[in-house]
């Protein structure tokens, strides 16, 4: 557990001893960073004494020193080709947090059409659209890591979908870690105007297995009737630290669907906050953490039903092997007046290793009476009846267990609407189950 002194020192070194991103021509953008620096200095790095971090001890992070990378990447297309998704005609690549235009493939902006561009550059051209949203949804006032991200805010993706626009190709945002001890603070903003549609894939990968830190923040804003599919794959290196945050705001009759998969990182934490801010909004959050060794994967989600007739569905699964530790905290809030909310949540956990550990806390906070809310949580092994059934059909014990474990994880992966990515991940789960 980090003491306050250590924590203070850590933040100090983060904020002061490190190269700062170049200043923006936009005064308000620079001001936002300055405010975030101030806020980050006032906040403390959380310890397990904080309820929100009770099961996730991030003190190993504090003992290491990380530096933002400022130079452009020396990687070429051959180095990163294996991460490409054949369905994605649009791809923005970031290496150690820095935008790599040579590795990216993006459509030219035509007239008033959609924008998919690097944030630090595009923010200037699209300031009037960006300003009302940037740092308004993922507020940094109470979250030290969001504050640090905002303080270092520079490269990242800006996706802007004008009214009624539909981008058919998935938008692949590929974040590659190539250097050890690098600190990346990628920042993404997705603005979907009324009736627009797109699929955004956030994909965190690595070329090396030593320690680094990813501190990513994404904001997604959906106007009336907009639809966003959001796939988030975290396959960071086995010594990496991953701190992720995503804040989603949904307007009337809009629909947000998320599939978040955590496979990598020594310690990972993902906070996903969805605000159903208008009537008839709908969200589906699916998650899978597949971890082994001494990994720790922590997922915190909040579904905030602020208005009537909202619908939310959530299914979060963890497969935990060896001495790994999975944490899930899923809050569903139904605010006063959010009548006819229909919400259900399930947290299912499979413990494979004898010393594996799960801490799960689904929670309901309901302030409206005419609502339908349910949640369930299970922790256990594979169902012995199912194993027996498969064995009675001639499978070996191991094969039966592998198959069932695979099926447990595949249920979430199946919900990824990109075939090549789905197959790749299914392969990963299969390899994992066969290894164990």
């Amino acid at each position: 557990m980090g003491t306050v002194t250590v924590a203070g020192g850590y933040l100090e070194s983060l904020l002061q001893g490190q190269p700062r991103p170049p200043s923006s021509p936009l005064a308000w953008f620079n001001q936002l960073r300055a405010d975030a620096v101030e806020r980050a200095s006032a906040l403390k790095v959380p310890t397990t004494r904080d309820e929100e971090w009770r099961f996730t001890d991030i003190s190993p992070l504090l003992g290491l020193s990380f530096q933002p990378v400022s130079a452009g990447s020396a990687l070429d297309a051959a180095d990163v080709g294996r991460f490409h998704l054949k369905e994605a005609a649009i791809r923005l690549v970031f290496v150690d947090g820095v935008y790599a235009p040579a590795l990216s493939r993006r459509p030219e902006k035509v007239g008033t059409g959609p924008v998919v561009a690097n944030l630090s550059e595009a923010v200037v051209a699209h300031a009037t659209m960006v300003k009302p949203h940037l740092a308004r949804h993922a507020r940094f006032q109470d979250d030290v890591f969001t504050a640090v991200n905002t303080a270092f805010m520079h490269d990242g993706a800006l996706v802007f979908l004008p009214r009624g626009a539909a981008i058919r190709s998935p938008i692949h945002l590929l974040f590659i870690a190539s250097q050890k001890a690098a600190a990346s603070h990628p920042r993404c903003l997705v603005i979907a105007e009324a009736g627009s549609e797109a699929m955004v894939i956030e994909d965190y990968v690595t070329l090396q297995q030593e320690a680094y830190v990813n501190n990513a923040v994404t904001e997604i804003v959906l106007a009336d009737h907009a639809r966003i599919d959001h796939v988030r794959i975290q396959r960071d290196g086995i010594e990496a630290f991953h701190l992720g945050r995503c804040a989603v705001s949904l307007a009337r009759e809009s629909r947000y669907r998320s599939v978040a998969i955590a496979l990598g990182a020594r310690i990972s934490r993902y906070n996903l906050d969805t605000l159903l801010a208008a009537e008839g909004a709908e969200c589906t959050l699916d998650g899978l953490a597949l971890i082994t060794g001494r990994q720790l994967a922590d997922t915190h989600t909040c579904i905030d039903h602020a208005m009537p007739h909202g619908t939310s569905r959530q299914s979060h699964k963890c497969i935990v092997d060896d001495t790994a530790h999975a944490v899930f905290n899923g809050k569903i809030m139904v605010r006063t007046g959010a009548q006819h909310t229909d919400s259900s949540q399930s947290s299912r956990n499979l413990l494979l290793g004898a010393r594996a550990r799960v801490d799960t806390k689904p929670q309901l906070e309901i302030f409206a009476d005419d609502v339908k809310c349910a949640h369930g949580a299970t922790v256990g092994q594979l169902d012995s009846e199912e194993v027996f059934y498969l064995k009675s059909r001639g499978l070996t014990e191991t094969a039966a267990r592998n198959l069932l474990t695979y099926a447990f994880g595949a249920e979430i992966i199946d919900r990824i609407p990109v075939a090549s990515l789905k197959h790749r991940l299914e392969r990963t789960v299969l390899d994992h189950t066969q290894r164990s």
Binding site: Q339, L351, R355, Q363, F367, Q381
Partner: protein
């Protein structure tokens, strides 16, 4: 519709009267002198005074817990009197020597203090403010070796037993209010069921707070030796005051091999008025240690009273194959706040636990279930099933569910389910369309909702619980 519901849930509090009786009240305030005074008044042995002072010093270094959802103004612990006893306090030889005013009080509350008039098969210990005023059936129970008396008496008559177990299940520094209780507890009930004895009758304690400025800090200790079993019931009421009274009890249960303790509570402390003025702060620590192989501890609670309830009757399942159960109905109305639930700590192999919690919120109240299921690495084969349902009546209240599930053994199996339901226009219209009036409809819905818990209560309590909720039974209980 809402008017009907409001009338039904707004039954006037029937136990709000004050008994006019001369009391011996300690001056307000808390310091080591207060503790020495309490200990001296009770003529306690030195070890117990040391226990109290140790707890007090721990308490001074502790902070009030702030993690729950309950909100209340800061408590001035120096404004409370820590000892209040009806005068004169001489040793009673029979129930006939009890102050007639007290007898009348308890008669009015429906508590049987005369053995001859008592409900068949229930022995009662009666606690009035800080002291035990009477215990019935003591002799009869003694014949089979059962000790059933006030804890003050036990300290003198059975000091070794008390010393052996006191503070072993709830350590003095367990939490803020447990530490406070350990420092200042005044009386409570002591039960000891020796090896192999199945207690021939239900044992019960009736708690009554009477004095406005006094807190109530009782301490209950129940020990069931190998193969013993007991069913224990507890009821609570208090007069109506505009101020808040603090009730910080500690209950410890110990079950040895094959022992079985069933502990039932109907809590009906004064809840404050419809504007949230007055009422009891009920900050209670209850914990059972299922120490022996195949032992079982079962908590059943019906929580209807108190301005604030903060209470998590828990089971530490240490013995192999031991069983923990928690059945709860918590009803809140007006401005009541309840943050209640349980902890099931699985330490032994093949331990099993069941949690059934039903929360009903009405008015402007807040009702939270908070439960912990922890499976330690040693608890191979542990099983838990939890069901936590909430019902909301009206749209100004809230219902929260906070289950904490922590599993460190891969052979464990834990299942938790929660849902919400309501009594609303559509439900009542459906009944009405079948010719069933609103009152009866509400009663049926509530009883149906709580059925799984009411079934766990002993007969007399089930009746009282249902009456308390202000609803008729009509066949759905028992």
């Amino acid at each position: 519709m809402s008017a009907v519901l409001q009338n039904l849930v707004n039954q006037p509090y029937k136990h709000g009267f004050v008994t006019d009786i001369e009391s011996d009240i300690a001056p307000k305030g808390l310091n080591e002198e207060t503790i020495r005074l309490i200990s001296a008044k009770k003529n306690e042995p030195e070890w117990l005074l040391a226990f109290r002072l140790g707890a007090y010093r721990k308490w001074l270094g502790m902070e009030e817990p702030k993690w729950s959802t309950v909100r209340y103004p800061e408590i001035d612990f120096q404004a409370i009197s820590y000892y209040s006893a009806p005068k004169p306090r001489k040793k009673l030889n029979s129930m006939d020597e009890v102050d007639p005013e007290l007898l009348r009080t308890f008669e009015k509350l429906g508590v049987p203090m005369h053995e001859r008039a008592a409900l068949a098969g229930v022995a009662v210990d009666v606690i009035f403010d800080s002291v035990s005023v009477a215990t019935t059936y003591k002799q009869k129970l003694a014949e089979v070796g059962i000790i059933f008396c006030s804890i003050s008496e036990a300290v003198h008559m059975h000091p070794d037993l008390v010393r052996q177990y006191l503070g072993t299940v709830v350590p003095v520094g367990d939490n803020y209010y447990a530490a406070l209780n350990s420092a200042v507890f005044t009386d409570g009930t002591f039960c000891f069921i020796p090896k192999g004895v199945r207690c021939p009758m239900d044992l019960s304690t009736y708690f009554r707070i009477n004095t406005e400025e006094s807190g109530q800090f009782e301490r209950t200790l129940i020990i069931a030796e190998e193969g013993a079993s007991v069913s224990y019931l507890e009821g609570c009421t208090a007069p109506r005051f505009d101020t808040n009274q603090l009730h910080a009890a500690v209950v410890e249960l110990v079950a040895l091999n094959d022992a079985d303790i069933k502990y039932s509570t109907v809590q009906n402390w004064y809840a404050g008025d419809e504007n949230g003025v007055g009422g009891i702060y009920n900050f209670v620590t209850k914990r059972g240690l299922a120490k022996g192989v195949n032992s079982r501890i079962s908590w059943t609670q019906v929580e209807t009273g108190s301005a604030i309830t903060w209470k998590y009757p828990s089971c530490v399942l240490l013995g192999e194959n031991s069983v923990g159960e928690f059945y709860s109905v918590a009803v809140t109305n007006h401005h009541q706040q309840a943050d209640t639930g349980t902890k099931m700590v699985h330490l032994g192999r093949n331990t099993r636990s069941t949690i059934v919690s039903k929360g009903i919120s009405a008015g402007h109240s807040h009702n939270s279930y908070r439960g912990l299921v922890r499976v330690a690495p040693t608890a191979a084969g542990a099983r838990n099933y939890s069901q936590c349902d909430s019902m909301l009546v009206g749209d100004a209240c809230s219902a929260n569910t906070f289950p904490y599930i922590q599993v460190r053994n891969h052979t464990a199996k834990v299942e938790h389910e929660a849902s919400t339901s309501k009594i609303g226009e559509d439900q009542l219209f459906y009944f009405a369309q079948r010719g069933i009036g609103n009152e009866e409809a509400v009663s049926m819905i509530i009883n149906g909702f709580c059925k799984d818990v009411f079934q766990q209560l002993p007969m007399e309590f089930a009746v009282e619980a249902t009456k308390l909720l202000g609803f008729k039974l009509e066949g759905s209980v028992g």
